[in-house]
Symmetry: C2
Subunit: 372 residues, 2 copies
Amino acid sequence: MKIVCEKEKMLKAINSVVKGVASKTTMPILEGILIQTNDNQIKLTTYDLEIGIEYIMDCEVIEQGNIVVNAIMFSEIIRKLPDAEIKITLNNQNLLEIECEGSLYKLATMNPDEFPELPKIDIENSIDIEQNILKSMIRKTIFAVSSEENRPIFTGCLFEIKENKLNVVAVDGYRLAWKTQYLSTKSNDFYAVIPGKTLNEVNKIIMDSLDNIKIGISKNQALFEMENCKIVTRLLDGEFLNYEKSIPENWKTRIRVNKNDIQNCFERISLISSSSIEKEKKYPVKVTIDIGKIIISCTNQTGDAKEELFVSTEGKNLEVGFNPKYFLDALKVIDDDEIFIDLVSNISPCVIRPVEENGDYTYMILPIRMKE
Amino acid sequence: MKIVCEKEKMLKAINSVVKGVASKTTMPILEGILIQTNDNQIKLTTYDLEIGIEYIMDCEVIEQGNIVVNAIMFSEIIRKLPDAEIKITLNNQNLLEIECEGSLYKLATMNPDEFPELPKIDIENSIDIEQNILKSMIRKTIFAVSSEENRPIFTGCLFEIKENKLNVVAVDGYRLAWKTQYLSTKSNDFYAVIPGKTLNEVNKIIMDSLDNIKIGISKNQALFEMENCKIVTRLLDGEFLNYEKSIPENWKTRIRVNKNDIQNCFERISLISSSSIEKEKKYPVKVTIDIGKIIISCTNQTGDAKEELFVSTEGKNLEVGFNPKYFLDALKVIDDDEIFIDLVSNISPCVIRPVEENGDYTYMILPIRMKE
């Protein structure tokens, strides 16, 4: 194998696939990047047996060939080379020679035949969506996936196509995040639950761009396909929550509040609530809703905190306990200036909706029962 | 105690003293900030029994008093409050009330009489120096202090006044860093060894400004004094190295090289040399000096690296082994474009001097004997 390419182009390719490299593995081959030439293109592949990433780029191929090289060493060396032309050659001692100006590096290689094949995907359904829209949908939901492995289905996000809308939903038993997007082209209804870990990696690879990404679904796999780059992942098995049913239809108390103001209050009060010796989850802050204002308060061994905020309120007064972290997680990803907070009682779910997003983003938190 | 002050002003004061707070201690009082009022000023003090920091600021004092409050909680709350006026009051339950717009926090306090007194310092000698100059002197030497506690004297930097120059020197048995600065005012000769840990904190507090800082020395203590802020520290006991004697007077091989070029070569080659299973220190890179060029190379289990750099050389050819980290530590803090590297033999110290700094900065590394 002998190829010649620009450093920046090769680095971009490596950066895309390196997220698929296994970090803790007993199989050294999975710590590698598979490099394959094909006429005047090369393909880089990484695969940790859960997520597989392929990147194809044009490049001057002087001699065809395939090889696997340690991903970390290869990417670090390319990253630090000067911004110039790089020659990459497999020499006759099976070392990969990387030459660039006055630098010559030789790296040990692995047998490309030992690299596991990525699963073949028979796409049954697919949609096209702008990368920046998908990125925002993932960002607004993924923090709510469960980290508890005893219910694996909730460690992923539901991707559901229904009535020409894409719904992305995450739920962990304490809160639920749901983002909706109308699709511009007609699509078949389908759903799939994609592992949160995969979506984190997808989110790092896709750009804030108007370019499309294709999401394809087969029985057990999903495929994300962009120009040059493909990501394949397994799907999660099981029954997802009937999320629409679990969201209260009406409210008895409604607050309309500036997002930054209430976010600042919760951030400050978290200093007290989370510094407690007891577990954060069990130590709620109390939200008291009165006419025209809310009071957020918390008392524990560290001290005592009270935040008073003038807001617009409708409906009955209420006192309800929350884990402030669950509020903050959502407030951090909401881009709107104003939010509605809708409540029914101190034991019913609380629903947060950005005012301008007009129902396209719904976040729900379960309250915590306050000690009397 | 009752005081009123602007948030930003209080935050600046806290940021200055918080570096003196003990992090791991069995004495909770040392995790606190002592707040003392004095007419229309307050003084904040922290002291971890090694470094003590005092900060004095003007402020509206409505009721005099002293109190100790947990430094982390107090600083985090002040940091997150809106940019407005803050009222701080000790209430009659001995809680410190912090009020700002709609926020009210109450923190547990500790008895100010239990806060240890900072050592009194009888200054025997002192100098005044611009803060930006001191900052640069510390930065160019401190990385070479020893981390080995068996020779405590080398865990600090020598501050030596001689012939109206300030010399700051650090040495760890493998390398030596020495920065000199001419003083504009006449000063008595003296020397002191100041703990590296203190200098790290001093460096975070002092500014890149033309304002002066006073360095005062007593028998066992040093004092750094700026407007509003004082830092006291113990000195290290023992005999420092006769550093001038240990630097070779002549060279037999001289290289003149662009600093960034050789830094990039060492950074790349470190990827190979430091990825070895064997300890970094024992795995040198080989520097081969030939007429008009140097070759830096390294071979181990990971692979093989060679960097060729065209440079200006004088004197005899040479082959010598080095720990690349020791080169990089110095190259990172040198601001000049070009450096001299002077060598005598493959077992004598190698001396690096920035061309423009004209002898005011000297860095010396011991070579590593190469395996034949």
